[in-house]
Symmetry: C2
Subunit: 370 residues, 2 copies
């Protein structure tokens, strides 16, 4: 019973939908401990200590015992998020990771006759969702420098989805540009996927998150996640912010798939994380500082590094091809992500690690002469 049984795949009983899927392939989650894992953009720092405290308390609390169903709409967590982001609870939706939130977004807003627009280089789950929900996806090429030009999006559409900062480039789009998109497409839902926004460094203290715009634009939806800046990839919590009618659509869609996506411990842990603002800010600042150092070091080694505002950098080795460099790093126990895809196949996406991990990477690259 320990080895997977050999079997001949038989799709006879599958729906056409199942047969035609192109599932998402997540970054590898290797089990070895001694690896320097810089491939899936996890935070190098642990979550707030308050998270484990809150989870332990929820575990111990009789009235909150695991035998009972969780709050189906995660009210306490949503209220805490509303407080933290100066919103109303009706402007907040939460789900089982931002991936689940995005799936519900596609079903709620993009299953329409007009196509969805997205950058050609972006989060690789978007085309998967488009397939899953039968949504026509039109890829808008990034400019030569990998930037997004809003004028390229002037065409009829059901919606636009943009990761901001974009992945895997790390490049950020300004709030002015986002406002422009929302204004120019009043009948489309503009989704800004801010998985990495908390690592963006505001210039002269200005806001970088489009959450600050949602009261101005009823067609703007912003998604975020606890997986990156809050160091809780293992807890599966994501959220969306938008006007109450958009949130209501997501809620109904959720309750037509799965009523209780967030377990009791995830709700308790995420709530504690939201409330520990000081720790959150400190971790983000540390990651930003480490990113800046990493960019400097990679640049010194001759890498072409895109101007990242995320917790990863997208960098082209001066010598040797990126695929080979990734392989050589792997042999030394350092895992980075390589995408075998036109336009970006000369780049590596490298998660910002701890100072020690980053140094280990730089030392290895120096020795490789990459």
């Amino acid at each position: 019973m320990t080895n997977p049984m050999e079997f001949k795949l038989d799709t006879r009983l599958w729906s056409n939908k199942a047969r035609n899927l192109n599932p998402y392939v997540p970054g590898e989650q290797p089990k070895h401990d001694n690896l320097c894992k810089l491939n899936t953009n996890e935070n190098p720092f642990p979550p707030s200590a308050k998270v484990a405290e809150a989870i332990s308390a929820a575990l111990a609390d009789q009235a909150q015992a695991l035998r009972l169903y969780p709050a189906p709409e995660s009210d306490d967590l949503r209220q805490a998020l509303a407080n933290a982001y100066q919103l109303d609870i009706n402007q907040v939706f939460v789900g089982n990771g931002s991936d689940e939130v995005l799936a519900l977004v596609f079903a709620s807003f993009f299953m329409k006759e007009r196509p969805l627009l997205a950058p050609d280089i972006s989060y690789s789950f978007y085309p998967v969702y488009a397939d899953t929900f039968g949504v026509e996806l039109v890829n808008i090429p990034l400019r030569e420098d990998f930037s997004i030009e809003t004028n390229d999006y002037r065409q009829p559409c059901s919606g636009i989805i943009i990761a901001n900062p974009n992945a895997p480039t790390g490049i950020i789009l300004s709030l002015d540009a986002i406002s422009k998109l929302a204004n120019e497409h009043p009948n489309a839902v503009i989704v800004i996927d801010e998985a990495y926004i908390d690592f963006a460094k505001p210039e002269s203290g200005e806001a970088v998150s489009a959450v600050s715009l949602i009261n101005e634009h009823d067609n703007l939806l912003v998604t975020q996640t606890f997986s990156k800046s809050r160091s809780l990839a293992g807890l599966r919590v994501g959220m969306a912010f938008g006007n109450p009618s958009l949130i209501e659509a997501l809620t109904r869609m959720k309750n037509s798939f799965n009523s209780y996506p967030l377990d009791r411990l995830a709700q308790a842990g995420a709530l504690a994380s939201v409330q520990d603002t000081a720790y959150f800010k400190q971790v983000c600042e540390q990651v930003i500082e480490l990113r800046e150092q990493l960019i400097e070091q990679l640049t010194s080694l001759g890498f072409d590094v895109l101007p990242s505002q995320a917790n990863f950098v997208f960098a082209r080795p001066a010598q040797g091809n990126a695929s080979e460099v990734a392989q050589q790093l792997r042999e030394q126990g350092i895992i980075v992500r390589y995408f075998s895809q036109p336009r970006i196949d000369e780049y590596l996406r490298i998660t910002v690690g701890t100072a020690e991990q980053n140094q280990r990477l730089i030392t290895a690259l120096t020795e490789l002469g990459a």
Copy 2:
């Protein structure tokens, strides 16, 4: 920011899919502590103490810290389930509660031209999924005594879904009948939703779960949940057992919606629960005993009680209508479930509670003269 903002619902930006949904309405999850909550079929006993131990260990373990993504396919948990049920890991799928598993089942196997067949009285999420995935659902009436007659299912279909024991009746279908369905519909997927199967009392030691049949029928899929018999409704873990080609379809569908549905703590807790067989058996036996007592007491009060093999009973009060009785119980802090639906609107679905809770119910009903 504490009171929900008033808003006028505007569905202009919604997909038709979103506009036409009829979301599932879960049983109420009241927040008051002193309620006698017999409305959502939770287990009256806590989960195995090993669950909290395992979760605490996962919380404390640096290599398993929450900052890292969980195992996307929950390999360790699936292997533990395979061991416990004498299956191969490739015959096991897990998801975020059996509700999520069922959603993926509908998308994988029932999105076809032929209709899906299900009993007219059954789990009320089935018609919701049918709506969500555009599946034509043909309701096959239960017989007068609320039993399922397999001959009624002799018609072309993409699949058949049956909750066994059925909800809200609690009545069980024999394995012979299930084998017959699987044999008579070789091109349809037969889904047996065994949310409550562990509370079924085998006659003369024979198996009651259709898991024992999956090696015989490649078109048989069995779903189960940790929410009932394992007292983990708050942890959101469900599973499906079937031949590897069916499991592969579910896996691909999952990876087209959400790659990491089970967080680290849910995986760790569920694994510990599976491994504590002794506690699991003991709790199931206790609930079965309490159910038998409750049936006896309700019958003595003149209730017509269906022959339940689940952790709830479906009972018709001798006097007064069921809706009124439910309301009167609520005024005394006892919550049971009432379905305002043809054929069953004279019944109450009452979860088996602890001995104390059941006594509180019986006392209240006696005083009401219901």
